[in-house]
Amino acid sequence: MSVAAANWTGPVPAGFPDRGRSRLRRRTARVGGVARPMAGGTVSLLSAADDAALLTRIAQEDPDAFETLYARYSGPAYSVALGMLRDAVLAQEVTQDVFLAIWRGAREFDPARGSARTWILSVAHHKSVDAVRRLRRTPTVPLSDTVPSDADVIEAAQARVDAGHVRRALEALSIEQRAAIVLAYYGGYTQQEIAQRLGVPLGTIKTRIRDGLLRLRTVLSAPAPETAR
């Protein structure tokens, strides 16, 4: 017999089974592969299932799947990092981090929780935000004595929005909702920082982000007015 935890009495961290190796013996071999129902059958659904299957293979440390995923998502992920950091060298470092995080963390992807694309770009955004916050913590010599106004900061964050359809979708939000979402997503500020900067209670910022996101969902899932006409 080996070192199985027959006499384990210490606190077991959450997420571990609390008894020995019983599950290891019971467990039957599980073959990888995504059993996602293919409702519909459009091209975008196919490629979405494809991306999820790639992540399943990456979780099994398949380098070929990783290469395919890199070919598909290096552009979108790099664009997020470059847009946030405004520095090609830093953006490359962050992109490298993003893909290593995908390689190591692919098993954390849960197809029931959302699409592979959403997950990958969320990792890219998260790493970029972390990098922006690290940069902000680094003391720098101020170029001028003027403290940027709220409007300047919102403007700077909003300037990162390049795509017309996203700009138009943001314009469908109230000014308050737009400011909160733009400062959070494109500015990389925390809810607390936004509340402080705008002099508004934290609860109000949380509500604006929630309502703004729900509105955004309606606007972006509807056909663009130009193409509908």
């Binding site: 080996s2 070192v3 199985a4 935890a5 027959a6 384990w8 210490g10 606190p11 077991v12 961290p13 959450a14 997420g15 571990f16 089974p17 008894r19 020995g20 190796r21 599950r23 290891l24 979780a59 990783f66 290469e67 290096s74 979108p76 790099y78 664009s79 470059l82 847009g83 953006a91 490298q96 963390g105 098993r107 954390e108 929780r113 959302g114 699409s115 959403t118 969320s122 890219a124 955004h125 990162r160 929005v161 390049d162 795509a163 996203v166 700009r167 943001l170 979402i181 959070a184 997503y185 494109y186 500020y189 925390t190 949380k206 509500t207 929630r210 996101l213 955004l216 969902r217 972006l220």
Partner: protein, 236 residues
């Protein structure tokens, strides 16, 4: 934070707009609450199109090699690796063909290089006053320590005296955030010499480091057994 307070922070979580302490609380809750996970999915999908707002650019071609090399140790893509590495691979191939010995020198070289790297990293961590050392405890009679630097995200597990887990089994290292253990690598003990496993992570996110016995050679996606050793990292 209560369930209702967590719910109010889910939209902010989807935008990565939570402060570190709040982030840890929300993640711990999410691991345990299916209702919040479902609700979060709505906000994550709603936030997803914002990524398309950035000007779309392609990264320089050189980045591809760097990223792919990082996950394929010993294999070089695009032939931009140092010449001696290619020569070594060629030499290994010749030896296999001539002697019929199915041993890849390159693989052994890479394994050795990886070992030297992780040992160097462990030594550097031990020498760094900013590092923290945690001793793992549990039913296994062994000396296992985890040294890590919370700011750089570098860490190493140093194990001596662990018994052979049995044929086809390995020791698997886990980092635990909330109730979600994340695999940080597998290893088998080497008699007489310490085993060093390099672990890189955002350590302040994790509350504990743990070791369980899992099926080899790659371990499990989720722990299938109670941990034999646990050390508190103090995060979360």
């Amino acid at each position: 934070m209560t369930h209702d307070e967590i719910r109010e922070s889910l939209p902010g979580y989807a935008l990565h707009a939570l402060a570190p302490d709040e982030l840890r609380e929300v993640e711990a809750h999410l691991a345990a609450c299916a209702e919040c996970r479902r609700e979060l999915a709505v906000f994550e999908e709603a936030a997803a199109p914002l990524a398309a707002g950035f000007a779309q650019e392609e990264p320089p071609a050189a980045l591809r090699g760097r990223v792919l090399d990082a996950v394929r140790p010993g294999r070089r893509t695009g032939g931009r690796g140092p010449g001696w590495m290619v020569a070594l691979a060629a030499a290994a191939a010749v030896i296999i063909v001539l002697a019929g010995i199915a041993v890849s020198l390159e693989q052994r070289f890479v394994a050795l290089t990886a070992r030297v790297e992780s040992e160097t990293q462990a030594l550097a961590l031990l020498a760094d006053p900013a590092s923290r050392v945690v001793t793992l405890s549990g039913p296994a009679a062994a000396s296992v320590r985890f040294v890590f630097d919370p700011t750089t995200g570098r860490g190493a597990l140093i194990a001596t005296g662990l018994r052979d887990p049995g044929p086809d089994l390995v020791y698997q290292v886990w980092l635990v955030a909330g109730s979600t253990p994340r695999s940080a690598g597998v290893f088998r003990p080497a008699s007489g010499t310490p085993v060093i496993v390099a672990v890189g992570a955002d350590f302040p996110r994790y509350q504990a480091v743990a070791i369980s016995v899992e099926r080899g050679p790659n371990g499990a996606a989720r722990p299938s057994a109670a941990p034999i050793l646990v050390g508190r990292l103090g995060g979360g």
